[in-house]
Symmetry: C2
Subunit: 375 residues, 2 copies
């Protein structure tokens, strides 16, 4: 059976793009070197500062979120720098990969997937693993691959004031509480296709004053992601290279929407309130939660695929028969977990439709929904 | 007076995006890890090979065109490599900047802006400037900043078979004749917002077998633009990072349109046929052509702003009073030239509207249209 025309996206990125946002992006193309587009850039920049909770400029990059992660690394570090990475899933691994690709001395702190961060261990690791202090510590705010959020404020306290604290807030921005300045984060990166309800294609990055000082001393080659070029252009309400115009026009619309619901904290509270219901429904169907309750994200809910159910087949049937897209596991959890998002424009209607389909498909696959199952 | 709602874009990027392309991009978001999107990627890849005229895979990057230029540099070179850059405008300068940012030994061959390339000089430069042969020679196919096209086939003959030939076809792809394999180009890069009639936000890159061998030996740090990751993902009809989904959906539609008019060569011929008319109309208004006729592009027509006319004011009036956007000069030619594009979906209607506005504004500014003017 063909999928219905309008898919129901319950994935932690891309998330559904609201019709008004899609509509403004479909308007005739405009040129980026006009006062009209400058006004758009200005508005987007102001809205992003509110969402990041920072007094610093937030630069808009034309790239995937990973491009902004790379921008963080190449701007603040130099070859051979010693850095720590809190690594509890696929996206923590990505920090390790990028830092190694650029010749850093990387010390990962491995957290078992789905498990809580022990801040005491973070403190010991920071002080004990290398003779010098880390130049930077990298973390993920919401580890999308496992549905775990890390306590960024606690990490800053554990590592002390000196190392640069770099946070991947790609799936977390607009979806998990975040306070760049208040939590003393030095570099924060994000992407467009999660809590901001846009198509993928834009990334965002902001640097604290301390990170900007570090950037002035970095000896790594860079051009497309060079903060210096972004800064110079931004000073003239411009971008150094032709930006993804239509997506930035959409960004202004989605930021307007966030303001219209009372701001980013209200949006997050609304979506987090849905998480309890998602967990309850999953449990009723016979799923076991994947993430430790102490650190479980309220924007990405991960659950173990019941033994005897083929996880890949489950996702395929949901998609092909019902047009419902939920995420599977990534990396070593491929086929073993499912992940449902509660962020952006995902509302009760989408969640209800998703669970109706999930129940039907599980039944069809021979799983006794609601029965007592051996763990 | 406010600009009319629908702007008339006569700029060499972004170019107008046809309504059917805008429409498909406005459809509800879909997920990139689905068979539905794999079919889209496959179709986009096949269409791009036709437009590049290559048997190699063309990788889709989520970035501005400059990102693909950087991808070319970081994949095939190592620090200290000696490279030549044919530099006849702002985008030739960009190759120099990127290569220097990554520690190359750069030997630019400076061509006066707007002037023809002397292939004899190219040959001498290749053989005389350094003790070794260049590892790579970088050129621009259409130097958008000056409206000049360089003879890439001739450059290959002049530099001989050994150096890697890297071509910026960002504004030229789909707008100027190009034959990657036939002209023995090793790396070709392009962008979405020119001849391909899409919003900016995608870039494209293809590597010859020789360039892929060079890439295996490159010792430059890279991650987001790493060919190895792109190749691995592409082998599974995937991209290494979440791609700009909506723009790729638009790409398939614009490639369909190109096929519907009989292919890329037909599209180019149609648009080039307009160039003669644009030159004639500009001359009739009193403009002098900027580019040497021997090398003048038929997709970007550059003309000198008549003495006594304020070039910046001219563009501003066209935009604010008539919604007509034409490009001004870049770099050292800012305010001194105008540039009108004949590429993508720019047709007789847009060009007529543009010239009507141009004549009105010039008259309003006190310029005696059509009169004999001292040069």
């Amino acid at each position: 059976m063909a999928a219905p025309r309008e898919p129901i996206l319950l994935t932690p990125g891309p998330t559904p793009v609201p019709p008004p946002v899609r509509q403004v992006m479909a308007q005739p193309m405009i040129h980026h070197r006009t006062s009209e587009f400058q006004a758009i850039l200005k508005e987007a920049g102001a809205g992003l500062k509110e969402v990041f909770k920072t007094s610093q400029d937030v630069y808009i990059l034309t790239s995937s979120g990973t491009g902004a992660m790379e921008a963080a690394v190449v701007n603040i570090l130099s070859p051979g720098d010693e850095v720590g990475v809190i690594q509890g899933g696929k996206f923590g691994e990505r920090w390790v990969e990028i830092c190694r690709a650029y010749g850093m001395q990387v010390y990962p702190l491995e957290i078992p997937w789905g498990k809580s961060l022990d801040l005491k261990k973070v403190k010991d690791w920071t002080q004990g693993v290398t003779s010098r202090e880390f130049k930077a510590v990298f973390s993920t705010l919401c580890e999308t691959s496992t549905g775990v959020t890390f306590d960024i404020r606690g990490i800053r306290e554990a590592i002390g004031p000196k190392p640069l604290l770099v946070v991947d807030a790609i799936s977390a921005l607009g979806a998990e509480p975040f306070d760049m300045d208040g939590w003393r984060v030095d570099v924060a990166v994000s992407g467009s296709q999660k809590g901001l309800m846009l198509p993928p294609g834009l990334a965002f990055i902001a640097f604290s004053a301390k990170a900007q000082e570090a950037a002035a001393k970095s000896r790594l080659g860079k051009y497309y992601f060079d903060l210096k070029l972004a800064k110079e252009a931004w000073g003239q309400t411009d971008t150094p290279f032709t930006p993804a115009i239509s997506l930035i026009i959409g960004l202004v619309e989605s930021l307007k929407y966030i303001r219209s619901v009372g701001g980013v904290d209200k949006l997050i509270a609304r979506n987090h309130a849905q998480a309890a219901g998602i967990r309850k429904s999953l449990t009723a169907l016979g799923f076991e939660m994947y993430a430790d309750p102490a650190c479980a994200s309220n924007s990405v809910i991960a659950a173990k695929v019941p033994a005897g159910v083929d996880g890949k087949d489950l996702l395929k049937r949901l998609r092909s028969q019902h047009g419902v897209i939920i995420a599977g596991g990534q990396g070593k959890e491929t086929g073993k977990i499912i992940r449902i998002a509660s962020m952006g424009a995902i509302g009760p209607q989408e969640i209800r439709a998703g669970f109706e389909a999930l129940e039907k498909v599980l039944t069809e696959m021979g799983w006794k929904v609601g029965a007592e199952h051996a763990r």
